[in-house]
Protein backbone atom coordinates (compact mmCIF):
# COMPACT_ATOMS: atom_id res chain seq x y z
CA UNK A 1 0.00 0.00 0.00
CA UNK A 2 2.78 2.40 0.84
CA UNK A 3 4.97 1.74 -2.20
CA UNK A 4 3.19 -0.51 -4.70
CA UNK A 5 0.01 1.54 -5.09
CA UNK A 6 1.85 4.84 -5.73
CA UNK A 7 4.11 3.10 -8.26
CA UNK A 8 1.03 1.75 -10.01
CA UNK A 9 -0.73 5.13 -9.94
CA UNK A 10 2.26 6.95 -11.44
CA UNK A 11 2.82 4.28 -14.11
CA UNK A 12 -0.85 4.16 -15.19
CA UNK A 13 -1.21 7.96 -15.24
CA UNK A 14 2.06 8.47 -17.08
CA UNK A 15 1.49 5.84 -19.74
CA UNK A 16 -2.09 7.03 -20.36
CA UNK A 17 -0.77 10.54 -20.93
CA UNK A 18 1.93 9.18 -23.23
CA UNK A 19 -0.78 7.16 -24.98
CA UNK A 20 -2.79 10.34 -25.71
CA UNK A 21 -0.17 11.25 -28.29
CA UNK A 22 -0.59 7.92 -30.14
CA UNK A 23 -4.09 6.55 -29.39
CA UNK A 24 -7.06 8.85 -30.17
CA UNK A 25 -9.25 7.00 -27.63
CA UNK A 26 -6.95 8.15 -24.83
CA UNK A 27 -7.21 11.81 -25.81
CA UNK A 28 -10.25 12.49 -23.62
CA UNK A 29 -8.65 10.66 -20.71
CA UNK A 30 -5.57 12.77 -21.19
CA UNK A 31 -7.64 15.97 -20.98
CA UNK A 32 -9.27 14.72 -17.78
CA UNK A 33 -5.91 13.81 -16.29
CA UNK A 34 -4.60 17.30 -17.13
CA UNK A 35 -7.62 18.91 -15.44
CA UNK A 36 -7.05 16.75 -12.34
CA UNK A 37 -3.36 17.63 -12.44
CA UNK A 38 -4.21 21.35 -12.33
CA UNK A 39 -6.66 20.74 -9.48
CA UNK A 40 -4.05 18.89 -7.48
CA UNK A 41 -1.60 21.71 -8.16
CA UNK A 42 -4.14 24.14 -6.65
CA UNK A 43 -4.47 21.90 -3.60
CA UNK A 44 -0.68 21.72 -3.42
CA UNK A 45 -0.72 25.49 -2.88
CA UNK A 46 -3.08 24.95 0.04
CA UNK A 47 -0.70 22.31 1.35
CA UNK A 48 2.13 24.82 0.97
CA UNK A 49 0.12 27.43 2.87
CA UNK A 50 -0.64 24.90 5.61
CA UNK A 51 3.02 24.00 5.86
CA UNK A 52 3.98 27.67 6.08
CA UNK A 53 1.44 28.12 8.86
CA UNK A 54 2.79 25.11 10.74
CA UNK A 55 6.41 26.25 10.51
CA UNK A 56 5.70 29.84 11.51
CA UNK A 57 3.51 28.80 14.43
CA UNK A 58 6.25 26.45 15.64
CA UNK A 59 8.72 29.34 15.43
CA UNK A 60 6.42 31.62 17.42
CA UNK A 61 5.53 29.06 20.10
CA UNK A 62 9.22 28.18 20.60
CA UNK A 63 10.05 31.92 20.59
CA UNK A 64 12.97 31.23 18.28
CA UNK A 65 15.22 34.07 17.13
CA UNK A 66 13.23 36.28 14.77
CA UNK A 67 9.83 34.94 15.83
CA UNK A 68 8.42 38.43 15.40
CA UNK A 69 9.01 38.16 11.66
CA UNK A 70 7.13 34.84 11.70
CA UNK A 71 4.20 36.73 13.23
CA UNK A 72 4.45 39.37 10.48
CA UNK A 73 4.38 36.59 7.86
CA UNK A 74 1.29 35.06 9.43
CA UNK A 75 -0.54 38.40 9.64
CA UNK A 76 0.27 39.18 5.99
CA UNK A 77 -0.79 35.65 5.03
CA UNK A 78 -4.14 35.73 6.83
CA UNK A 79 -5.08 39.25 5.78
CA UNK A 80 -4.35 38.50 2.10
CA UNK A 81 -6.11 35.15 2.31
CA UNK A 82 -9.19 36.70 3.91
CA UNK A 83 -9.57 39.57 1.43
CA UNK A 84 -9.00 37.17 -1.46
CA UNK A 85 -11.38 34.43 -0.39
CA UNK A 86 -14.07 36.80 0.89
CA UNK A 87 -13.82 38.92 -2.30
CA UNK A 88 -13.64 42.09 -0.20
CA UNK A 89 -14.52 45.11 -2.31
CA UNK A 90 -15.50 43.05 -5.36
CA UNK A 91 -18.68 44.14 -7.11
CA UNK A 92 -21.00 41.58 -8.68
CA UNK A 93 -20.88 40.82 -12.37
CA UNK A 94 -22.83 43.66 -14.04
CA UNK A 95 -24.87 41.10 -16.02
CA UNK A 96 -26.00 39.35 -12.84
CA UNK A 97 -26.03 42.05 -10.15
CA UNK A 98 -28.23 40.03 -7.76
CA UNK A 99 -25.46 37.40 -7.46
CA UNK A 100 -23.12 39.16 -5.07
CA UNK A 101 -20.36 36.53 -5.47
CA UNK A 102 -20.32 36.58 -9.27
CA UNK A 103 -17.61 39.27 -9.62
CA UNK A 104 -13.97 38.70 -10.56
CA UNK A 105 -11.80 38.05 -7.48
CA UNK A 106 -9.05 40.30 -8.90
CA UNK A 107 -11.32 43.22 -9.84
CA UNK A 108 -9.53 46.55 -10.04
CA UNK A 109 -10.18 48.49 -6.85
CA UNK A 110 -10.87 45.45 -4.68
CA UNK A 111 -8.85 44.72 -1.55
CA UNK A 112 -7.16 41.67 -3.06
CA UNK A 113 -6.21 43.73 -6.15
CA UNK A 114 -4.73 46.34 -3.79
CA UNK A 115 -2.50 43.68 -2.20
CA UNK A 116 -1.49 42.38 -5.61
CA UNK A 117 -0.86 45.78 -7.12
CA UNK A 118 0.80 47.59 -4.24
CA UNK A 119 2.55 44.82 -2.29
CA UNK A 120 3.02 41.62 -4.30
CA UNK A 121 4.05 43.19 -7.63
CA UNK A 122 6.54 45.78 -6.31
CA UNK A 123 8.07 43.29 -3.88
CA UNK A 124 8.57 40.53 -6.44
CA UNK A 125 9.87 42.97 -9.07
CA UNK A 126 12.30 44.58 -6.62
CA UNK A 127 13.51 41.19 -5.36
CA UNK A 128 14.45 40.24 -8.92
CA UNK A 129 15.83 43.71 -9.65
CA UNK A 130 18.14 43.30 -6.67
CA UNK A 131 19.80 40.44 -8.52
CA UNK A 132 21.12 42.95 -11.08
CA UNK A 133 23.59 44.19 -8.47
CA UNK A 134 24.62 40.72 -7.37
CA UNK A 135 25.02 39.37 -10.90
CA UNK A 136 27.15 42.38 -11.82
CA UNK A 137 29.28 42.10 -8.71
CA UNK A 138 29.70 38.31 -9.12
CA UNK A 139 30.62 38.80 -12.79
CA UNK A 140 33.14 41.48 -11.92
CA UNK A 141 34.82 39.16 -9.42
CA UNK A 142 34.56 35.91 -11.35
CA UNK A 143 35.10 36.91 -14.98
CA UNK A 144 38.77 36.68 -15.77
CA UNK A 145 40.19 36.00 -19.21
CA UNK A 146 42.26 33.10 -17.88
CA UNK A 147 41.95 30.81 -20.91
CA UNK A 148 40.42 30.71 -24.38
CA UNK A 149 36.96 29.60 -23.21
CA UNK A 150 36.71 32.27 -20.50
CA UNK A 151 37.92 34.92 -22.95
CA UNK A 152 35.25 33.94 -25.50
CA UNK A 153 32.54 34.08 -22.83
CA UNK A 154 33.74 37.48 -21.63
CA UNK A 155 33.98 39.04 -25.10
CA UNK A 156 30.59 37.73 -26.20
CA UNK A 157 28.91 38.91 -22.99
CA UNK A 158 30.40 42.40 -23.42
CA UNK A 159 29.41 42.63 -27.11
CA UNK A 160 25.82 41.47 -26.46
CA UNK A 161 25.46 43.71 -23.39
CA UNK A 162 26.74 46.79 -25.19
CA UNK A 163 25.01 45.90 -28.44
CA UNK A 164 21.60 45.94 -26.81
CA UNK A 165 22.02 49.34 -25.20
CA UNK A 166 22.52 52.91 -26.32
CA UNK A 167 26.25 52.38 -25.72
CA UNK A 168 26.33 50.58 -29.06
CA UNK A 169 25.24 53.74 -30.89
CA UNK A 170 27.55 55.87 -28.80
CA UNK A 171 30.62 53.70 -29.39
CA UNK A 172 30.16 52.44 -32.93
CA UNK A 173 27.35 54.59 -34.35
CA UNK A 174 29.87 56.53 -36.44
CA UNK A 175 31.02 53.55 -38.49
CA UNK A 176 30.38 54.48 -42.14
CA UNK A 177 28.30 52.37 -44.46
CA UNK A 178 31.19 51.98 -46.88
CA UNK A 179 32.77 48.75 -48.11
CA UNK A 180 36.03 47.80 -46.41
CA UNK A 181 37.59 46.59 -49.67
CA UNK A 182 36.27 46.63 -53.19
CA UNK A 183 32.64 47.12 -54.18
CA UNK A 184 29.84 45.47 -52.18
CA UNK A 185 30.62 42.85 -49.53
CA UNK A 186 31.40 43.69 -45.92
CA UNK A 187 31.05 47.30 -44.80
CA UNK A 188 32.41 49.13 -41.76
CA UNK A 189 28.87 49.47 -40.40
CA UNK A 190 28.62 45.66 -40.24
CA UNK A 191 30.92 45.89 -37.23
CA UNK A 192 28.55 48.09 -35.24
CA UNK A 193 27.98 46.49 -31.84
CA UNK A 194 24.24 46.11 -32.30
CA UNK A 195 24.79 44.32 -35.61
CA UNK A 196 27.47 42.05 -34.15
CA UNK A 197 25.19 41.31 -31.21
CA UNK A 198 22.41 40.33 -33.63
CA UNK A 199 24.75 38.03 -35.61
CA UNK A 200 25.88 36.36 -32.36
CA UNK A 201 22.31 35.83 -31.24
CA UNK A 202 21.10 34.55 -34.62
CA UNK A 203 23.98 32.35 -35.73
CA UNK A 204 26.34 31.54 -32.88
CA UNK A 205 24.10 31.03 -29.85
CA UNK A 206 21.57 28.97 -31.82
CA UNK A 207 23.82 25.87 -32.10
CA UNK A 208 24.63 25.93 -28.38
CA UNK A 209 21.00 26.39 -27.40
CA UNK A 210 19.91 23.62 -29.76
CA UNK A 211 22.46 21.18 -28.39
CA UNK A 212 21.45 22.04 -24.81
CA UNK A 213 17.77 21.59 -25.65
CA UNK A 214 18.43 18.22 -27.31
CA UNK A 215 20.40 17.14 -24.23
CA UNK A 216 17.64 18.30 -21.87
CA UNK A 217 14.99 16.49 -23.92
CA UNK A 218 16.93 13.24 -23.79
CA UNK A 219 17.50 13.71 -20.06
CA UNK A 220 13.82 14.41 -19.40
CA UNK A 221 12.75 11.42 -21.47
CA UNK A 222 15.09 9.01 -19.70
CA UNK A 223 14.21 10.36 -16.22
CA UNK A 224 10.49 10.14 -17.01
CA UNK A 225 10.84 6.56 -18.19
CA UNK A 226 12.81 5.66 -15.06
CA UNK A 227 10.04 7.12 -12.89
CA UNK A 228 7.21 5.47 -14.83
CA UNK A 229 8.90 2.07 -14.88
CA UNK A 230 9.57 2.27 -11.15
CA UNK A 231 13.37 2.32 -11.50
CA UNK A 232 13.58 5.73 -9.83
CA UNK A 233 11.48 5.69 -6.64
CA UNK A 234 13.12 8.59 -4.82
CA UNK A 235 9.88 10.62 -4.88
CA UNK A 236 8.29 8.07 -2.53
CA UNK A 237 10.68 9.00 0.28
CA UNK A 238 11.73 6.49 2.91
CA UNK A 239 9.67 3.76 4.58
CA UNK A 240 10.25 5.36 7.94
CA UNK A 241 7.54 8.02 7.43
CA UNK A 242 4.54 7.84 9.74
Amino acid sequence: MKRTVPLLISAVTGFILIGTAFIPMFEEWGNDAMAWFNLLAAFAFILGGGNLLKMQLQKISAQQAGWGYAAVTLIAFFVTLFVGLAKVGVHPNAKFPEFSWSGNYLEVGSAFWWFFEYIFTPLSATMFALLAFYISSAAFRAFRAKNTEATILLIIAVIVLLGRTYASEWLTGGFPNEPIFGEGGITYSDFKLDHLSQIIMDDFTTPGMRAIKIGIALGVASTSLKVLLGVDRSYLGSDQEA
Partner: protein, 298 residues
Amino acid sequence: MKQSTIIWTLLMVFGGLGLISVQLFRGKGEVYVREVPVEAKSSSKTSPEQTYRWSTYQEVSAKEKDDPGISFSYSRTLGLWVSAFCTLAIFSFLYGDNPLYKFTESVFVGVSAAYAMVVGFWTEIVTNLYAKLLPGMARMSFFPDMESDVQSDLLYLIPLVLSVLLLWRLAPKGNWIARWPLAFFIGATAGIRLISYLETDFIGQLQSTIMPFIVFTADGSLLWIKSLRNTVVIVGVTSCMVYFFFSVEHEGIVKYISRLGIWFLMITFGASFAYTVMGRIALLSARLDFLFNDWLGI
Protein backbone atom coordinates in the same frame (compact mmCIF):
# COMPACT_ATOMS: atom_id res chain seq x y z
CA MET B 1 27.35 50.55 17.56
CA LYS B 2 29.95 51.07 14.84
CA GLN B 3 30.54 54.58 13.56
CA SER B 4 29.67 53.61 9.99
CA THR B 5 26.37 52.07 11.15
CA ILE B 6 25.43 55.29 12.99
CA ILE B 7 26.27 57.38 9.94
CA TRP B 8 24.26 55.17 7.58
CA THR B 9 21.31 54.98 9.97
CA LEU B 10 21.24 58.76 10.38
CA LEU B 11 21.55 59.21 6.62
CA MET B 12 18.65 56.85 5.99
CA VAL B 13 16.43 58.36 8.69
CA PHE B 14 17.05 61.95 7.57
CA GLY B 15 16.82 60.95 3.92
CA GLY B 16 13.49 59.27 4.57
CA LEU B 17 12.13 62.21 6.57
CA GLY B 18 13.34 64.58 3.86
CA LEU B 19 11.58 62.58 1.18
CA ILE B 20 8.33 62.48 3.15
CA SER B 21 8.38 66.22 3.88
CA VAL B 22 9.24 67.05 0.27
CA GLN B 23 6.40 64.82 -0.89
CA LEU B 24 3.88 66.35 1.50
CA PHE B 25 5.01 69.89 0.70
CA ARG B 26 4.95 69.43 -3.08
CA GLY B 27 1.76 67.41 -3.10
CA LYS B 28 3.36 64.60 -5.11
CA GLY B 29 2.83 60.91 -4.52
CA GLU B 30 -0.93 61.30 -4.75
CA VAL B 31 -3.34 59.27 -6.83
CA TYR B 32 -6.51 60.66 -8.35
CA VAL B 33 -9.43 58.70 -9.71
CA ARG B 34 -12.47 59.27 -11.87
CA GLU B 35 -15.73 57.85 -10.58
CA VAL B 36 -17.53 55.65 -13.12
CA PRO B 37 -21.11 54.93 -12.05
CA VAL B 38 -22.44 51.46 -12.87
CA GLU B 39 -26.13 50.73 -13.16
CA ALA B 40 -27.23 47.13 -13.57
CA LYS B 41 -30.67 45.57 -13.81
CA SER B 42 -31.39 42.19 -12.22
CA SER B 43 -31.14 39.30 -14.65
CA SER B 44 -33.92 37.20 -13.12
CA LYS B 45 -37.05 37.00 -15.29
CA THR B 46 -39.28 35.67 -12.52
CA SER B 47 -38.71 38.21 -9.74
CA PRO B 48 -39.61 41.93 -10.12
CA GLU B 49 -37.00 44.02 -11.87
CA GLN B 50 -34.59 45.71 -9.54
CA THR B 51 -31.81 48.19 -10.30
CA TYR B 52 -28.43 47.94 -8.63
CA ARG B 53 -26.05 50.89 -8.50
CA TRP B 54 -22.41 51.15 -7.54
CA SER B 55 -19.30 52.97 -8.69
CA THR B 56 -15.95 51.87 -10.03
CA TYR B 57 -12.89 54.13 -10.10
CA GLN B 58 -10.42 54.73 -12.91
CA GLU B 59 -6.97 56.07 -12.16
CA VAL B 60 -6.18 59.36 -13.88
CA SER B 61 -3.00 61.45 -14.12
CA ALA B 62 -2.35 64.17 -11.54
CA LYS B 63 -2.75 66.81 -14.28
CA GLU B 64 -6.48 66.11 -14.36
CA LYS B 65 -6.99 66.47 -10.63
CA ASP B 66 -8.93 69.75 -10.96
CA ASP B 67 -11.30 68.36 -13.61
CA PRO B 68 -14.92 67.68 -12.60
CA GLY B 69 -15.62 64.14 -11.35
CA ILE B 70 -12.01 63.60 -10.29
CA SER B 71 -11.30 62.86 -6.64
CA PHE B 72 -8.35 62.04 -4.44
CA SER B 73 -8.04 58.30 -3.74
CA TYR B 74 -6.94 57.52 -0.20
CA SER B 75 -6.57 53.78 -0.76
CA ARG B 76 -4.51 54.08 -3.94
CA THR B 77 -2.36 56.88 -2.53
CA LEU B 78 -1.68 54.71 0.50
CA GLY B 79 -0.89 51.87 -1.91
CA LEU B 80 1.58 54.04 -3.79
CA TRP B 81 3.38 54.89 -0.55
CA VAL B 82 3.33 51.28 0.62
CA SER B 83 4.80 50.27 -2.75
CA ALA B 84 7.55 52.86 -2.45
CA PHE B 85 8.27 51.75 1.12
CA CYS B 86 8.47 48.09 0.03
CA THR B 87 10.78 48.95 -2.88
CA LEU B 88 13.14 50.99 -0.69
CA ALA B 89 13.05 48.37 2.07
CA ILE B 90 14.13 45.63 -0.35
CA PHE B 91 16.85 47.87 -1.80
CA SER B 92 18.11 48.46 1.73
CA PHE B 93 19.50 44.92 1.60
CA LEU B 94 22.26 46.29 -0.63
CA TYR B 95 23.65 47.96 2.47
CA GLY B 96 23.28 44.74 4.47
CA ASP B 97 20.73 42.55 6.19
CA ASN B 98 18.56 44.79 8.36
CA PRO B 99 15.22 44.69 10.22
CA LEU B 100 13.46 46.73 7.55
CA TYR B 101 14.41 44.20 4.87
CA LYS B 102 13.50 41.25 7.08
CA PHE B 103 10.10 42.78 7.83
CA THR B 104 9.36 43.34 4.14
CA GLU B 105 10.65 39.89 3.24
CA SER B 106 8.28 38.35 5.81
CA VAL B 107 5.38 40.33 4.37
CA PHE B 108 6.35 39.12 0.89
CA VAL B 109 6.41 35.48 1.97
CA GLY B 110 2.98 35.75 3.61
CA VAL B 111 1.36 37.68 0.78
CA SER B 112 2.85 35.42 -1.93
CA ALA B 113 1.68 32.21 -0.24
CA ALA B 114 -1.81 33.60 0.26
CA TYR B 115 -1.90 35.00 -3.28
CA ALA B 116 -1.06 31.60 -4.79
CA MET B 117 -3.71 29.95 -2.61
CA VAL B 118 -6.40 32.46 -3.53
CA VAL B 119 -5.65 32.25 -7.26
CA GLY B 120 -5.67 28.44 -7.07
CA PHE B 121 -8.93 28.51 -5.13
CA TRP B 122 -10.86 30.74 -7.53
CA THR B 123 -9.39 29.54 -10.82
CA GLU B 124 -9.18 25.82 -10.16
CA ILE B 125 -11.03 24.64 -7.07
CA VAL B 126 -14.17 26.73 -7.59
CA THR B 127 -14.14 26.79 -11.40
CA ASN B 128 -13.08 23.23 -12.13
CA LEU B 129 -14.06 21.21 -9.08
CA TYR B 130 -16.99 22.86 -7.32
CA ALA B 131 -18.67 23.79 -10.60
CA LYS B 132 -18.15 20.28 -12.01
CA LEU B 133 -19.39 18.44 -8.92
CA LEU B 134 -22.20 20.78 -7.87
CA PRO B 135 -23.22 22.74 -10.97
CA GLY B 136 -26.60 23.74 -9.51
CA MET B 137 -25.08 25.37 -6.47
CA ALA B 138 -22.30 26.90 -8.54
CA ARG B 139 -24.93 28.50 -10.78
CA MET B 140 -26.72 29.96 -7.77
CA SER B 141 -23.55 31.42 -6.27
CA PHE B 142 -20.51 32.12 -8.44
CA PHE B 143 -21.45 31.31 -12.02
CA PRO B 144 -24.98 32.50 -12.83
CA ASP B 145 -24.15 32.33 -16.55
CA MET B 146 -23.67 28.54 -16.43
CA GLU B 147 -25.97 26.48 -18.62
CA SER B 148 -28.90 25.11 -16.57
CA ASP B 149 -28.69 21.61 -18.10
CA VAL B 150 -25.12 20.93 -16.93
CA GLN B 151 -24.99 17.70 -14.93
CA SER B 152 -22.60 16.74 -12.14
CA ASP B 153 -19.43 15.08 -13.37
CA LEU B 154 -18.86 12.45 -10.70
CA LEU B 155 -15.49 11.58 -12.20
CA TYR B 156 -14.25 14.69 -10.42
CA LEU B 157 -14.68 12.91 -7.11
CA ILE B 158 -11.35 11.23 -7.90
CA PRO B 159 -9.29 14.46 -7.86
CA LEU B 160 -11.28 15.56 -4.80
CA VAL B 161 -10.29 12.39 -2.95
CA LEU B 162 -6.69 12.71 -4.17
CA SER B 163 -6.62 16.34 -2.98
CA VAL B 164 -7.87 15.38 0.48
CA LEU B 165 -5.18 12.69 0.60
CA LEU B 166 -2.61 15.29 -0.42
CA LEU B 167 -3.63 17.55 2.46
CA TRP B 168 -3.33 14.54 4.76
CA ARG B 169 0.41 15.18 4.65
CA LEU B 170 -0.09 17.83 7.32
CA ALA B 171 -1.59 15.22 9.69
CA PRO B 172 0.72 13.83 12.37
CA LYS B 173 -0.08 10.18 11.52
CA GLY B 174 -0.72 8.27 8.31
CA ASN B 175 0.80 10.96 6.10
CA TRP B 176 2.26 8.27 3.82
CA ILE B 177 -1.15 8.30 2.13
CA ALA B 178 -0.11 11.62 0.54
CA ARG B 179 2.18 9.52 -1.68
CA TRP B 180 -0.83 8.48 -3.75
CA PRO B 181 -1.72 11.95 -5.07
CA LEU B 182 1.98 12.69 -5.29
CA ALA B 183 2.40 9.60 -7.46
CA PHE B 184 -0.40 10.86 -9.71
CA PHE B 185 1.34 14.22 -9.90
CA ILE B 186 4.71 12.69 -10.72
CA GLY B 187 3.24 10.24 -13.24
CA ALA B 188 1.27 12.97 -15.00
CA THR B 189 4.31 15.28 -15.13
CA ALA B 190 6.52 12.47 -16.47
CA GLY B 191 3.94 11.51 -19.12
CA ILE B 192 3.34 15.06 -20.30
CA ARG B 193 6.99 16.08 -20.28
CA LEU B 194 8.25 12.94 -22.02
CA ILE B 195 6.17 13.54 -25.11
CA SER B 196 6.34 17.33 -25.19
CA TYR B 197 10.12 17.47 -24.76
CA LEU B 198 10.76 14.75 -27.31
CA GLU B 199 8.44 16.44 -29.78
CA THR B 200 9.57 20.06 -29.47
CA ASP B 201 13.07 19.93 -28.07
CA PHE B 202 14.44 16.74 -29.59
CA ILE B 203 12.73 16.12 -32.92
CA GLY B 204 11.95 19.81 -33.44
CA GLN B 205 15.54 20.96 -32.91
CA LEU B 206 16.98 18.17 -35.01
CA GLN B 207 14.55 18.98 -37.82
CA SER B 208 15.56 22.64 -37.72
CA THR B 209 19.22 21.67 -37.95
CA ILE B 210 18.81 19.46 -41.01
CA MET B 211 19.35 22.05 -43.75
CA PRO B 212 21.58 22.48 -46.79
CA PHE B 213 25.22 23.43 -46.33
CA ILE B 214 25.26 25.28 -49.64
CA VAL B 215 22.30 27.42 -50.69
CA PHE B 216 21.63 28.59 -54.25
CA THR B 217 19.12 31.06 -55.60
CA ALA B 218 16.52 30.07 -58.22
CA ASP B 219 18.88 31.23 -61.01
CA GLY B 220 21.69 29.05 -59.67
CA SER B 221 23.94 31.69 -58.07
CA LEU B 222 25.47 30.92 -54.67
CA LEU B 223 24.00 32.59 -51.56
CA TRP B 224 27.26 32.52 -49.66
CA ILE B 225 26.10 34.34 -46.52
CA LYS B 226 23.13 32.00 -46.11
CA SER B 227 25.41 29.01 -46.81
CA LEU B 228 27.92 30.21 -44.23
CA ARG B 229 25.19 30.71 -41.61
CA ASN B 230 23.77 27.24 -42.23
CA THR B 231 27.26 25.73 -42.00
CA VAL B 232 27.94 27.52 -38.71
CA VAL B 233 24.70 26.18 -37.22
CA ILE B 234 25.21 22.59 -38.43
CA VAL B 235 28.86 22.48 -37.37
CA GLY B 236 28.00 24.13 -34.05
CA VAL B 237 25.19 21.74 -33.14
CA THR B 238 27.26 18.69 -34.18
CA SER B 239 30.33 19.79 -32.23
CA CYS B 240 28.28 20.59 -29.12
CA MET B 241 26.60 17.19 -29.33
CA VAL B 242 30.01 15.56 -29.65
CA TYR B 243 31.10 17.41 -26.50
CA PHE B 244 28.01 16.07 -24.66
CA PHE B 245 28.74 12.51 -25.82
CA PHE B 246 30.74 10.91 -23.05
CA SER B 247 30.55 7.29 -24.23
CA VAL B 248 33.73 7.74 -26.27
CA GLU B 249 37.08 9.02 -25.05
CA HIS B 250 37.63 12.67 -26.03
CA GLU B 251 40.89 11.99 -27.83
CA GLY B 252 42.24 12.61 -31.34
CA ILE B 253 39.72 14.17 -33.74
CA VAL B 254 36.91 13.91 -31.14
CA LYS B 255 38.94 16.08 -28.78
CA TYR B 256 39.21 18.89 -31.36
CA ILE B 257 35.54 18.68 -32.32
CA SER B 258 34.43 18.73 -28.69
CA ARG B 259 36.76 21.68 -28.08
CA LEU B 260 34.94 23.55 -30.85
CA GLY B 261 31.70 22.53 -29.14
CA ILE B 262 32.89 24.09 -25.88
CA TRP B 263 33.59 27.35 -27.72
CA PHE B 264 30.08 27.39 -29.13
CA LEU B 265 28.71 26.68 -25.67
CA MET B 266 30.80 29.51 -24.22
CA ILE B 267 29.34 31.87 -26.82
CA THR B 268 25.85 30.71 -25.79
CA PHE B 269 26.58 31.15 -22.08
CA GLY B 270 28.10 34.60 -22.67
CA ALA B 271 25.04 35.75 -24.60
CA SER B 272 22.66 34.18 -22.05
CA PHE B 273 24.52 35.89 -19.23
CA ALA B 274 24.27 39.22 -21.03
CA TYR B 275 20.55 38.69 -21.55
CA THR B 276 20.00 37.80 -17.90
CA VAL B 277 21.84 40.93 -16.80
CA MET B 278 19.81 42.99 -19.26
CA GLY B 279 16.58 41.53 -17.90
CA ARG B 280 17.50 42.36 -14.32
CA ILE B 281 18.67 45.84 -15.29
CA ALA B 282 15.35 46.38 -17.08
CA LEU B 283 13.52 45.39 -13.88
CA LEU B 284 15.76 47.68 -11.86
CA SER B 285 15.12 50.60 -14.19
CA ALA B 286 11.37 49.89 -13.94
CA ARG B 287 11.57 50.10 -10.15
CA LEU B 288 13.64 53.30 -10.30
CA ASP B 289 11.17 54.70 -12.81
CA PHE B 290 8.38 53.91 -10.35
CA LEU B 291 10.23 55.63 -7.50
CA PHE B 292 11.23 58.74 -9.45
CA ASN B 293 8.21 59.14 -11.71
CA ASP B 294 5.16 57.61 -10.05
CA TRP B 295 6.10 58.32 -6.46
CA LEU B 296 8.40 61.34 -6.38
CA GLY B 297 7.10 62.85 -9.60
CA ILE B 298 10.55 64.14 -10.55
